[in-house]
């Protein structure tokens, strides 16, 4: 073997190994991105699923007087949404709260049912979350026709768990609590 042959063989080996390593690293990065994207999508779906189901079961808090119907429907602050919902066959209700804890590395979201049961629905994966109560009142029978809903704007992924960068997923939706709307319009 001549020196030139060794140099050419070495160069080729470096090229082949370099290309293989590069392809492997790209593959690994892409796989991790896909995996963490699936995780944040699943967490986002879990959150909206829980919230939608809770809002279906949500009822107006009858301990408050009728002139405070907005407070009786739902309490919405920048970090928390809370309302009452049916929780057993006997028609008893309990408070359900969704709390958002913003953080630089990605915010988290928890759901608390009653006074003790707390479950983390999104763990350090929220880039931004805003929610607000929407209402519409039009003239009609009695006090008019009323509809309320919860606006949710959620951006998940893109940051969060160390070393895991997922796709950014944006979800904007409005959730209409059917039973509450029926109650507001005079049906139980």
């Amino acid at each position: 073997m001549t020196f030139v042959e060794i140099i050419i063989a070495g160069g080729l080996a470096v090229l082949v190994i370099g290309a293989t390593l590069y392809a492997f690293m790209q593959f690994r990065r892409g796989f991790e991105k896909g995996e963490s994207s699936a995780v944040v999508l699943q967490e986002g779906a879990l959150f909206l699923g829980f919230l939608r189901n809770d809002l279906i079961n949500a009822v107006i808090d009858k301990t408050l007087p009728p002139d405070r119907w907005r407070d009786a429907v739902m309490t919405v602050t920048s970090n928390q949404v809370s309302f009452t919902a049916f929780h057993d066959d006997e028609g008893n209700t309990e408070k359900i709260s969704y709390a958002f804890s913003p953080a630089l590395g990605g915010g988290s979201l928890t759901r608390t049912q009653g006074s003790s049961r707390t479950k983390t629905l999104i763990d350090k994966g929220i880039a931004s979350l805003s929610w607000s109560l929407g209402e519409e009142i039009v003239p009609g029978i009695g006090s008019g026709v009323r509809r309320i809903w919860l606006n949710v704007d959620l951006t998940i992924g893109g940051q969060g768990k160390a070393g895991m960068t997922s796709k950014i997923i944006t979800l904007s939706t409005k959730l209409f609590p059917t039973r509450m709307n029926r109650q507001l319009n005079g049906k139980s």
Binding site: A38, W149, F176, P177
Partner: protein, 151 residues
């Protein structure tokens, strides 16, 4: 002479190495495509999740409209925009989130038993669009039945 022949027999020629690298590339290409399919799968799941939410948003807000005020008819994407009226005789408005790359459709049918109006059937259709705004062929359809509780 003999030594040179022996050395050549045990080495690889450039052509052999190139054929080997080519074969490796040919084997790796389907593996890369398989990975790409996985990524596309996640993307499609995300798009369908967003479309499903858009359909639920449409259905839930119509379920919250009093039965008598819900108009029958077909609504196209241009009529299903935020703050547009639900119908000429309905004082309530649509409340719709801005979602890119989808096209909404809605049909409300009256279902009668004899002469009495018993139900209103609501069908929300979301067509997924590509980046050029053309239908991808994927559609989410959700249906709901609103009962007339005054009868």
């Amino acid at each position: 002479m003999n030594r040179e022949t022996t050395l050549r027999r045990y080495g690889f020629s450039l052509l052999e190495i190139l054929v080997g690298v080519g074969l490796l590339a040919a084997i790796m290409t389907p593996v890369m495509f398989a990975f790409g399919a996985g990524s596309r799968g996640i993307q499609m799941t995300q798009e369908e999740f967003v479309a499903h939410n858009a359909a639920l948003e449409l259905l839930e807000q119509l379920n919250a409209v009093p039965f008598a005020l819900l108009p029958a008819g077909k609504f196209g994407d241009a009529e299903l925009r935020d703050s547009l009226p639900i119908g000429s005789k309905c004082p309530l408005k649509f409340h719709i989130s801005q979602v890119p790359d989808i096209q909404r459709g809605l049909e409300i049918k009256e279902l009668k038993q004899g002469t009495s109006l018993r139900f209103k059937k609501i069908e929300a259709t979301i067509v997924l669009l590509d980046r050029k705004g053309k239908p991808t062929g994927r559609t989410v359809v959700l249906k709901s039945l609103l009962a007339n509780e005054t009868q």
